[in-house]
């Protein structure tokens, strides 16, 4: 079976660019810990399953651009968002 | 001008424009000519299934470059006007002098 590289690479680059901008604010009372990102990952996988893949794509039954976006945002925050 | 004269001129111009526009649309389907759309419909689905994206980005990509340039110009002008805050240009503050001289 064939894996199409195009949506994976461009979705990852877009998510990475936007993920480097999520920075924690030290002196405020709002705290966004790891539980928020776990909820976003679970809801994101469910939405990627219910939005079936684009027409004419036959590799996996999920929307592959969505998953690449989620991975990109989380990696961007872990790398540059100190 | 008085009220009645303006109403009369407005109604006459409305009737003239309405008659002109409806006369252009009446019998429209006999003057439609397909022309070049036969070629577009024959080559287009070989490139991409979405015909709108084909026309906007492939056959008219130069116009989309102009539209992107409009977006850049609008953002630059807004940031020039609203980005500076208050600037002191010198001169006299007339409200303060009136209040101090009172």
């Amino acid at each position: 079976m064939i894996v199409y590289l195009g949506p994976l690479v461009i979705g990852f680059i877009l998510g990475f660019i936007l993920g480097t901008r999520i920075k924690p604010v030290p002196e405020s009372k709002l705290k966004f810990d790891k539980e928020v990102y776990a909820v976003v990952v679970i809801v994101g996988i469910l939405i990627a399953y219910w939005q079936q893949p684009f027409p004419y794509y036959q590799d996996i039954p999920l929307a592959s651009g969505f998953l690449a976006g989620i991975v990109g945002i989380i990696l961007g925050k872990l790398t540059f968002g100190r | 001008m008085s009220e009645g004269l303006r109403n009369l001129i407005a109604s006459i111009s409305l009737i003239v424009f309405a008659v002109t526009l409806f006369q252009a649309i009446y019998g429209f389907s006999q003057i439609l000519n397909p022309g070049v759309s036969y070629i577009y419909n024959w080559i287009g689905p070989n490139i991409a299934p979405n015909m709108v994206t084909n026309v906007v980005f492939d056959w008219r990509g130069y116009d989309t470059l102009g539209e992107a340039l409009i977006l850049v110009t609008a953002v630059v002008v807004v940031l020039l006007i609203f980005g500076r805050g208050k600037v002191d240009l010198g001169g006299k503050d007339e409200d303060k002098e009136y209040e101090e001289g009172k």
Binding site: Y4, I17, P55 | A48, F57, V87
Partner: protein
């Protein structure tokens, strides 16, 4: 803003950004594309900035970032067009699907988008237009929100030309 808004705005804005990314990727198959997907991502960012305010918002965009991304988007479009001029004789020739068979197959395989449908350089054009639109729309809202930053410096601005020292 009420505590209910502050509780769920950040996860929802991340989901809006993800749906916007999905719209940009399917520009040559489904309705949508570069302009529409970029506006959706900008909507997600603006939602987060308005609810939390400029100082405490988790998604922070500085002026240098906005300048760099917008320049990258505009220049990317022009260079894709110039590469069409260099390899064949036409500006913005679609080097992926070679409908006139001018370009050798080595360059055609280089510029093709690896996909089920061979659409050429159209998805790359959607990507750069999406970058430019999302930064442009966010910059206007951020400029309006920080326009009263200088109002507290009135005492500093009154003595700007040294008038009180005579």
């Amino acid at each position: 803003m009420s505590p209910i808004l502050k509780l769920f705005t950040f996860p929802i804005s991340l989901i809006i950004i993800l749906v916007g990314i999905n719209t940009i990727l399917g520009g040559h198959i489904t309705p949508g594309g570069g302009f529409q997907g970029g506006a959706m991502i900008a909507g997600g960012i603006i939602f987060c900035i308005i609810v939390y305010g400029l100082k405490e918002s988790p998604i922070k965009i500085t002026h240098n970032f906005m300048g760099a991304i917008e320049s990258a988007g505009a220049l990317g479009y022009v260079f894709l067009g110039l590469s069409g001029l260099v390899f064949s004789g036409f500006f913005m020739y679609n080097l992926g699907t070679n409908i006139y068979h001018i370009v050798p197959p080595f360059i055609q395989n280089l510029y093709n988008y690896p996909d089920a449908l061979h659409a050429g350089i159209i998805p790359y054009l959607n990507f750069v237009v999406g970058l430019k639109v999302l930064v442009g729309l966010s910059a206007v809202v951020i400029a309006f929100l920080e326009s009263d930053k200088y109002l507290g410096d009135e005492e500093q601005n009154d003595n700007l030309f040294g008038e009180d020292e005579k």
